[in-house]
């Protein structure tokens, strides 16, 4: 039963206002679900690790800062503590993900209006 509970698909809309769950935990539960659906095994371990994570990150944000690397460019660093607006990026991760021959670029390209397109239509839009 406990396993089912953990594997349950969390609805962010519900989690959002459960005041007994910390905001960090809300995001974690919500995203863990998606993580576990792609990697069935070892999912429970992940959850255990993640749950113990906030204590770690609070205890030592000194040396650990540069080593911590999750599978996301959004670091769990104390961005909140300093009340910053610009998100914290993991440089190495970004370099990997948006490097020259990265597969992510192909899907991203569809979001951009290319220059060629601009040339043919450009006159109408920007006379």
């Amino acid at each position: 039963a406990l396993k089912d509970y953990k594997r349950r698909k969390w609805d962010i809309g519900k989690l959002l206002y459960l005041d007994n769950i910390a905001p960090e935990e809300v995001i974690k539960r919500w995203k863990n679900e998606e993580l576990s659906s792609s990697a069935e095994d070892g999912e429970e371990e992940d959850i255990e690790n993640d749950v113990s994570d906030p204590e770690n990150s609070h205890a030592d944000n000194g040396d650990d800062f540069f080593e911590k690397r999750t599978n996301s460019a959004i670091l769990l660093v104390d961005a909140e503590v300093v009340d910053r607006t610009i998100p914290v990026y993991d440089d190495a991760y970004l370099k990997d993900k948006w490097g020259d021959s990265s597969p992510s670029l192909t899907s991203l390209k569809t979001r951009f209006v290319t220059r060629q397109f601009d040339d043919s239509e450009g006159n109408e839009i920007n006379p």
Partner: protein
Amino acid sequence: MVAPPVLFSGHLDFRMRLVLATLSGRAIKIDRIRSDDMEPGLKDYEVSFLRLLEAITNGSVIEISYTGTTVVYKPGLIVNGTITHNCPLSRAVGYFLEPILLLAPFGKAALSLTLQGVTSNGVDLGVDTIRTALFPIYNKFGIMRQELRVIKRGAPPLGGGEVNVFLPHIVLQPTTLHAAVKSPAIAKIRGVAYSTRVSPASVNRIIDAARGVLRITGCETFIYSDVARGEESGKSPGFGVSLVAESRSGWCYTAESVGGAGETPEDVGERAARALLHEVSLGGMVCRSQVKSLIILMVIGKEDVGRVLLGRDVIDEGLVRLLRDIKTMWGTEVRLKEQERLEDEDEQAEGSEEYVVSIKGVGFVNASKKIA
């Protein structure tokens, strides 16, 4: 008349809580501010922000406890006017400007604010990013005619910069936003690369590096250069770049980067460009630097449901806290629902799931404008 103040705990979201208090007109009490810290209580920049808040309002009462760990804030009316504020060097002027932008349109008169200090530090929004990426968000809510002039650029640690912000447009309330159809296509990329007290060639190196990374998008890219000379270049050497990916519909994504110790201009340009690609990849109508301002503007709309599309990774714990604070203040809950995909979008990026945020405005009305 005297309602008990709304209670908040901890130092997180200090600025946004004060903004919510001012807009709602309710007194708040924030306790346990870094009470377990080696240096307990408010930081210099937080006190400075309270002072600025006091300056643009009339009748505000701010009580700070002896240890600085508790603040009681009873908001007055937003009056604006002409104000010069000297910001502590620990934060960039963006730290102060970002919340003020949310208050100024609901004041009595125009605000002409001169801020002195550090103009960009890579932590708080840089002045260029505010002008090119935050002002367009306000335009979506019918708040127009903002002007921001960089008189002097100030790099950390010594600053010496100066910006003048002119916010003449006073509105009754923000218009309701309906923007939940499809994340916008990027039509062009713009940017500003700047330097203070270093060789002007570094600006060109930043631009070349950023363009190199962005070339892959095939998108029209133009990055302006702004080399601050002599009087207008503050006290410290530094360089940085602010990039904006704009759509034809006026939505934009932004990223910026400021040179740190031992970094080359190439590092800075490439980092900003990759960060921009990343923000675009998250999807939704806005990027993470803009989302909090956007949500607050939606909440204080008239009593009508507004919708906006947000990328999955734009929703983080900071946003969860903001939404909870909004509920504490006004009792308003937002609805988050996963966006259903259109069939032809199937091959789109795997990471860009999107959510529709529906917010019913609280029926806010500008207190000064109502009378007039």
